[in-house]
């Protein structure tokens, strides 16, 4: 009997997992004993961290795209389609284009994050993000024409992709405006929903003095409730109002509807055991990356490491051995602190982050990784 593994989503987690399984289960796949199907609704794989550089004119959205077919092992059955229903009792996926539905024995949900700007009145019209191609291009246009005024970075939705990116954005904007001789005419304000500048207290403690030194104003306990694009104001649930000329916003995030409709978790995030990555509400279902509620950042490194864990567990299950591999919360992030310096953090469930002193070397390490990422997606790095 053939074991059928379906991977839902071809982002970092899905692509790395597919290639990892193709390597681990090569004999079984070649013998027809295992089938691995990867389903993605876009023929391209997108490496989202590139978008941080688009507003500053350093990269183009096209730099973040490559055909999924060119990255995924030929042993993987790649389907460009959209899953419209997950039936975890019948172990079937309904597909938009089909033909028919797809039966599975093991399902891995790697559906990532989606943006939900409409949850905040006025946000779509009044703000831009760098968490999408269109948002990063619109923000680039605004920034390039900005010679004076107030640039506001507002973290509205949490959890959100790449928790360090809002800090990176204001550090880069500060440096970029200084280099262009505009910083004295452009004020920068950073808002965050809780009482510090980052969810992780260790990273917040590291970032706050840098923001102070750079003259980046901070508003904490600021949960944007409404944006008035005409007046150019952001109003918070706490009753504070901020005027802006350019608003870079981190919109509310969601998972995908089919996950919620399948009863796997709220807002499209899958409730999982944070060590085994098995779904709480269904048998033989795993989730990884942004889609999984493990409490660690929604970051590419997390998806990468979790893919290795799920691959090993699936290999064990298919070969009739106990699955022993577990995820320890490992997370790795470079944090840009300007246009030519960066820091770096590595942490897990037990060990908190301790940001490295910013350096040019770490900045180039980040840029170098952004290039070598394509080897990660192919399962080689």
């Amino acid at each position: 009997m053939t074991d059928r593994i379906a991977i839902l989503g071809g982002g970092t987690g899905g692509a790395v997992l597919a290639n990892n399984l193709a390597e681990r289960l090569r004999p079984e796949i070649d013998a027809g004993d295992v089938e691995v199907t990867l389903i993605n609704d876009d023929p391209d794989h997108v490496y989202k961290p590139i978008w941080l550089y688009v507003p500053f004119g350093k990269r183009e959205p096209a730099d973040a795209r490559r055909p999924l077919q060119s990255l995924v092992d030929d042993r993987i059955d790649l389907r460009i389609d959209r899953v419209t229903r997950i039936d975890t009792d019948g172990k079937r996926l309904e597909l938009r284009d089909g033909p028919g539905s797809l039966a599975y024995d093991y399902l891995v949900v790697a559906t990532g994050s989606t943006l939900a700007p409409t949850e905040i009145p006025g946000l779509e019209e009044g703000g831009h993000d760098y968490y999408s191609e269109s948002g990063s291009l619109a923000l680039r246009d605004d920034l390039l024409s900005m010679t004076e005024g107030h640039l506001v970075l507002s973290v509205i939705g949490t959890p959100h992709m790449c928790p360090a990116a809002p800090l990176e954005f204001v550090f880069m904007a500060d440096d970029w405006l200084r280099e262009r001789g505009l910083r004295e005419d452009v004020d920068i304000t950073y808002t965050y929903p809780i009482q510090r500048v980052h969810g992780n207290p260790h990273i917040a403690e590291w970032a706050e003095p840098i923001m102070d030194e750079r003259g980046i104003d901070v508003e904490t306990f600021f949960n944007a409730d409404a944006i008035d694009p005409e007046a150019g104001t952001v109003t918070s649930m706490e009753g504070t109002e901020i005027d802006y000329d350019v608003l870079a916003a981190i919109p509310p995030h969601r998972g995908v509807d089919v996950v919620e409709e399948a009863g796997l978790g709220d807002r499209g995030w899958v409730d999982v055991n944070k060590h085994t990555l098995e779904a709480d509400e269904a048998e033989d279902v795993y989730a990884l990356g942004d889609a999984a509620t493990t409490g660690v950042p929604k970051a590419g490194s997390v998806a990468h490491y979790q893919a290795g864990v799920v691959a090993q567990r699936l290999e064990s299950e298919i070969r009739g051995r106990p699955a022993t591999e577990t995820y320890d919360g490992k997370t790795l992030c470079f944090i840009e602190t300007g246009m030519d310096s960066a820091s770096y953090v590595e942490f897990d469930y037990e060990n908190p982050p301790s940001p490295a002193p910013p350096s040019e070397k770490l900045h180039w390490s980040k840029l170098a990784y952004n290039e070598s990422y394509w080897l990660t997606a192919r399962g080689l790095l």
């Binding site: 949850e119 959890p159 929903p193 809780i194 009482q195 949960n223 409730d225 649930m237 706490e238």
Partner: protein, 80 residues
């Protein structure tokens, strides 16, 4: 055992979430709530004791009660 007899309108179960997850889950639920609703937040993270009360102090919402039961906490927040 809970000591309050407050009837919540809605419950947010953030047990198992690391900080600031419980507070963010509460804020998210308050966003969509009506004035007068009472949100019950369940958390097993000590940090929530300060996070939640500090945030509520910044708003017009009211922290009606906090129940402690072993390592778990129940916060009752009335939406302004």
């Amino acid at each position: 055992m809970p000591t309050t007899d407050i009837e919540p309108t809605d419950t947010v179960d953030a047990r198992g979430a690391a900080c600031p997850g419980p507070l963010m889950d509460l804020i998210s639920r308050v966003r969509g709530a009506e004035s007068g609703d009472v949100i019950r937040l369940l958390s097993d993270n000590d940090q929530s004791l300060t996070d939640v009360s500090e945030w509520v102090d910044e708003t017009d919402n009211e922290l009606l009660a906090v129940d402690e039961s072993g390592d778990e906490y129940e916060f009752y927040v009335e939406v302004a």
